[in-house]
C-alpha cells in the first residue's frame, strides 16, 4: 500500500454529483480536490462513433462491467439471493461522467409534498389508513429550501421546457401541477414527434393538462452561467444508453468538466477503484483504492465526499463499517433502509399509421401530471400516489423494436408467420409510459451478500426488494388511464392487463435506485443529516439519490443535483470555515 500526498477533499466517483460538488469547491474556495473515478476518461470525440445500437444499446458498452461487480437480489428476507448476472433492470455507469453520460436527460423537480411525505400522508389520510409496512419519511429539507438549487442545476444544464407554475401563476401549456418555479426554463421545449403530438391533442381533448417533458437535451444553442456553450439537439435518436456526439445532451463531461479543467486545485484520477473509506475515532482519514494495475494506495484527506451512485455509496459504507446496519426484523438501524426504484407501467398501443419513430431524442415527449403525487386520488381504494403518464419518442432502434406485435398476431415468436406480422406492425407500436412514485417499505432494503463477491473478493451489495399491492394498483390505474387515452390518439390499446408480477431484475426499468443512506432530521432515523453530512463521521458527505427516503414519480437526477448544491453551500459557507457537525 502506497501512501499518497494528502488532499483537502477526496471525492469518490466522477459522475454527476461528484463533479458538481467538485466544481463548487474549486470555483468558490481554495481547497484542493481530488476525484477518484474507477472507470476510464471520456471525451466528446469518443461519442462520434457510438451510433451503433448493438454495442451501445444491446451489449451496453458504456455501462460498468458487470463481470467485475454486480448486486444480488431476492424478493424477500425468506429467499436466498442470486446475482444479477447480466443487465438488468438498471444500468450503472462507469468512467468520467458516470451514468450521466449515457442517461436520457429527463429533468423533473419533485413536488413539495414528497419532501414531507410522512407528514403529508398522515394529515391527508390519517395514520391508520397507511400501509403498516410503509417506511416513508420527511427529508429534513423542504422544496422551498431547494428551489434556488433546482434553478442553479437547470441553468448549468440549460434544461428545456415550459413552466406551468411561475411563482404561483398557472400557465397553460406547462405543467400546472408542478412545484412553483421562480423562473421560466432556460431553453424552450424540444420539438414534437408524431406520437407526442397525438398524445398532446388526445389528452387535451379528454380534459387533462399535457406538457413537454423537461429535457437536458438542449432545444437550441445555449451558453450556461459558467460560460460553457453547447449546440441544440438534432434528434438523432441515439440518445439514452449513448453519449451525445455533439454535446447537446447535458453530460458531466460537457458541462462540469470544461470548468473543472481550468482549475489547478482540481485533479481527476481515473482507473481508481475505491475499496474502503478509512476512519478512526469518528473521523475519516482518507480512502483506500486499487488502481488499474492492481496496486493499492492510501489517499489521506481532510474531508471525504462519497458520490459513487446509490449502489456503491451504500456498499462502501457497509464495507467500511460506517453507520448502523438496518435490521428489518427489529426495525432498528439505518444503513441500507428505504430502498426504492421507480414504478413503470402504462400500455402498448397500436396504430394503423407509421410513426417514423426512429427520429427522436431522450426527452422528446409529452406527459400529464393530473394524477401525479396524490392529485385526483382519494386514497379510499388504497391508491395513495400515482405518477406521470407520457408518450416518449427517444429514438426507436431496429433490433430492440423488431417483433413488437399485438397479442395473438403470430403463434410463435419466430418463423415466417412471425416475420410477416412483425413487418406489418413495424413502426406502428408505441408505449404510454407510467413513471410512478415508489414509496419505501420496511421490507425493501440493502445489505451485504453473504456469499457472492466482486473481482477483489469483497462482498456484493444485496437487494431485498419486491413490489407491494400499492405498486400493482398504480400499474392497474395507469393501464386503465392508457386505455382511455389510446383511442383518442387513434390507436388500439394492448388488451394485456398488468400482471402483478414479482420484481424482475432482467427487464430494464430505469436506473433510478434510491435510498440506503437516507437523509433526515435525527440520527435514529437517517444516515446523513439534512446537509448530507454523515451523522457519525462529520467529515464524510454522502451525495446522490441514496439520500432519498422515498422516490417521487420523476427521475431523480435533477433533485440529486439540487440537494448536492444545497449541501455544497453548507460545506462551503459553514463547514469549511469551522468544521463541525452541522445538525
Amino acid at each position: 500500500m502506497t501512501n499518497l500526498k494528502p488532499v483537502d477533499v477526496a471525492i469518490i466517483g466522477g459522475g454527476w454529483t461528484g463533479l458538481a460538488m467538485a466544481k463548487e469547491l474549486v470555483s468558490r474556495t481554495s481547497v484542493s480536490v481530488l476525484a477518484l473515478e474507477r472507470g476510464a476518461p471520456r471525451t466528446l470525440a469518443d461519442y462520434a462513433m457510438d451510433m451503433d445500437e448493438l454495442d451501445y444499446a444491446i451489449r451496453l458498452r458504456m455501462m460498468q462491467n458487470i463481470a467485475e461487480e454486480t448486486i444480488t437480489h431476492r424478493h424477500s428476507a425468506r429467499d436466498s439471493a442470486v446475482p444479477v448476472r447480466q443487465y438488468g433492470s438498471f444500468h450503472p455507469g462507469t468512467g468520467v461522467g458516470g451514468a450521466g453520460e449515457h442517461w436520457t436527460g429527463m429533468c423533473f423537480r419533485f413536488m413539495p409534498d414528497i419532501f414531507t411525505l410522512r407528514t403529508h400522508l398522515t394529515e391527508k389520510h390519517g395514520a391508520a389508513h397507511l400501509p403498516a409496512d410503509l417506511a416513508v419519511q420527511d427529508w429534513g429539507v423542504t422544496y422551498d429550501q431547494l428551489e434556488p438549487h433546482y434553478w442553479y442545476a437547470e441553468q448549468m444544464m440549460g434544461v428545456s421546457g415550459k413552466a406551468g407554475n411561475l411563482g404561483g401563476k398557472l400557465i397553460d401549456g406547462g405543467n400546472i401541477f408542478e412545484s412553483p418555479r421562480s423562473q421560466e426554463y432556460p431553453t424552450p421545449p424540444l420539438k414534437h414527434s408524431y406520437a407526442s403530438f397525438l398524445f398532446k391533442e388526445a389528452t387535451r381533448k379528454l380534459g387533462y393538462h399535457p406538457y413537454p417533458t423537461p429535457a437536458a437535451n438542449l432545444s437550441e444553442n445555449f451558453t450556461n452561467p459558467d460560460g460553457v456553450t453547447r449546440p441544440g439537439c438534432v434528434y438523432c435518436g441515439h440518445c439514452s444508453r449513448f453519449g451525445c456526439m455533439i454535446g447537446a445532451k447535458s453530460q458531466p463531461t460537457n458541462t462540469l468538466l470544461p470548468v473543472l479543467r481550468k482549475h489547478k486545485s482540481f485533479q481527476l484520477r481515473t482507473g481508481s477503484w475505491v475499496r474502503r473509506i478509512v476512519h478512526e475515532n469518528g473521523r475519516a482519514t482518507g480512502v483506500q483504492f486499487t488502481d488499474a494495475n492492481g496496486d493499492e494506495f492510501f489517499q489521506p484527506a481532510e474531508t471525504v465526499v462519497l458520490a459513487s451512485f446509490t449502489l456503491n455509496n451504500v456498499r462502501l459504507l457497509y464495507l467500511s463499517k460506517i453507520g448502523t446496519p438496518y435490521d428489518p426484523a427489529a426495525g432498528k438501524g439505518t444503513l441500507g433502509r428505504n430502498l426504492t426504484h421507480q414504478v413503470q407501467g402504462g400500455a402498448r398501443i397500436f396504430f394503423d399509421k407509421p410513426l417514423n419513430a426512429f427520429m427522436g431524442a431522450g426527452c422528446v415527449g409529452q406527459r400529464i401530471s393530473d394524477y401525479d403525487g396524490g392529485n385526483g386520488l382519494t386514497g379510499e381504494d388504497g391508491l395513495l400516489r400515482l405518477g406521470m403518464l407520457s408518450a416518449n419518442s427517444n429514438g426507436e432502434l431496429p433490433i430492440a423494436s423488431f417483433g413488437a406485435l399485438p397479442p395473438g398476431t403470430s403463434k410463435a415468436n419466430w418463423g415466417a408467420e412471425w416475420k410477416a406480422a412483425s413487418l406489418q406492425w413495424r413502426d406502428r407500436v408505441a408505449q404510454l409510459s407510467l413513471a410512478g412514485e415508489h414509496m419505501s417499505y420496511r421490507q425493501n432494503y440493502m445489505d451485504l451478500d453473504p456469499s457472492y463477491t466482486d473481482k477483489f473478493g469483497d462482498p456484493l451489495l444485496r437487494f431485498t426488494l419486491n413490489w407491494t399491492d400499492h405498486e400493482y394498483k398504480q400499474q392497474e390505474f395507469a393501464y386503465d388511464l392508457s386505455a382511455k387515452i389510446a383511442p383518442a390518439m387513434g390507436a388500439k390499446v394492448d388488451p394485456t392487463r398488468p400482471s402483478r408480477a414479482r420484481y424482475n431484475v432482467i427487464q430494464y426499468q430505469s436506473t433510478h435506485i434510491q435510498g440506503g443512506a437516507m437523509m433526515g432530521a435525527t440520527p435514529e432515523t437517517s444516515v446523513v443529516n439534512p446537509y448530507l453530512q454523515h451523522w457519525d463521521v462529520p467529515n464524510l458527505w454522502v451525495l446522490g439519490a441514496s439520500s432519498f427516503p422515498q422516490n417521487a414519480s420523476g427521475n431523480p437526477t435533477l433533485t440529486a443535483l439540487a440537494v448536492t448544491y444545497w449541501a455544497a453551500d453548507a460545506v462551503i459557507n459553514k463547514y469549511l470555515k469551522h468544521p463541525r457537525r452541522l445538525a
Binding site: 424478493h75 448476472r85 415466417a416 413495424r426 413502426d427 408480477a501
Partner: protein, 221 residues
C-alpha cells in the same frame, strides 16, 4: 492452432446492393456472380452451415423479403462468439450457480460459446440437410432452451445491426424495415411527415462518418 475455416456461399445469396422501396420490398440492384469465401473466427464450416440454416428458419427469406441467409447472420454470430461476448467477459460468472425464478434471468455457468456447442450437438451435424419441416419441428422442440433464446436474439441482432458487425449485409435488414441507420440530424424532419412514411435511404456508420467503426467483438476476448 485451429485450422482456418471458411464458409463458402454463393455471392448472390448475400445482400449485394439493394434498393429500398416504400412497399418494403427490397430488390437487388446487381446480382453478384460466383462465390465468396468468408473466413470464420469461431465456427467450423460444418457448424456454420447448421447455424445458418437454423437462423434461416427463425428469420426466413420468403415472399415478404430477404432473411437471415441474405443478411449473413451466421457471420455476425461467428464474430460475436469469437469476441469477448462469446467468452462472457461482460457477464458475472462467479459461483455458486443456482437455479432461481425466471425473474432472475439466465443463471447458468455456460458461456455463449459453450451454449452454442451444446445447441449444435442437439440440432445434429446434418441439421442443414434435413427437410425444412423437420428442421422447424426440431427447433420447436427446443424453443424453451437457453440456446434457442440466444439464437433467436442473435438472429434479430444479425439482421439489424450495423454491417460492421458482420450481418445486415448490404444494409438488407435496414432496407427491409425502413430504418435509415445512424444519421447526423433529423432536426428538419422530426415534426414533419405526420402519419406518412418517411424513409431516408439507409447508410452505415462507416458511410456516415467516413471512417471504420471499432466493433466490440474485435476486442481481445
Amino acid at each position: 492452432m485451429k485450422r482456418r475455416e471458411f464458409l463458402t456461399i454463393p455471392a448472390s445469396a448475400l445482400g449485394g446492393t439493394l434498393l429500398y422501396t416504400l412497399a418494403r420490398e427490397p430488390f437487388r440492384l446487381q446480382a453478384q456472380e460466383g462465390t465468396v469465401k468468408v473466413p470464420l473466427r469461431f465456427f467450423t464450416a460444418g457448424e456454420a452451415r447448421v447455424i445458418a440454416t437454423a437462423c434461416e428458419r427463425i428469420f426466413p427469406s420468403d415472399a415478404n423479403g430477404p432473411g437471415a441467409k441474405e443478411a449473413g447472420v451466421v457471420i455476425y454470430i461467428d464474430r460475436q462468439l469469437a469476441g469477448p461476448y462469446g467468452a462472457d467477459k461482460y457477464r458475472y460468472t462467479k459461483g455458486p450457480f443456482v437455479d432461481s425464478y425466471p425473474e432472475h434471468g439466465y443463471q447458468g455457468k455456460e458461456n455463449p460459446r459453450e451454449t452454442y456447442h451444446q445447441g449444435i450437438a442437439k440440432l445434429g451435424n446434418n441439421f442443414d440437410e434435413l427437410p425444412v419441416a423437420e428442421q422447424i419441428q426440431k427447433l420447436q422442440s427446443m424453443e424453451k432452451t437457453h440456446f434457442f433464446q440466444l439464437l433467436r436474439a442473435h438472429t434479430i441482432e444479425g439482421m439489424f445491426s450495423d454491417p460492421m458487425h458482420g450481418g445486415n449485409a448490404g444494409l438488407i435488414g435496414w432496407q427491409l424495415v425502413g430504418f435509415p441507420g445512424p444519421r447526423m440530424s433529423y432536426k428538419e424532419d422530426i415534426d414533419q411527415h405526420f402519419g406518412a412514411e418517411f424513409r431516408p435511404k439507409p447508410a452505415s456508420l462507416e458511410q456516415i462518418m467516413r471512417r471504420p467503426g471499432k466493433p466490440w467483438e474485435d476486442e481481445k476476448a
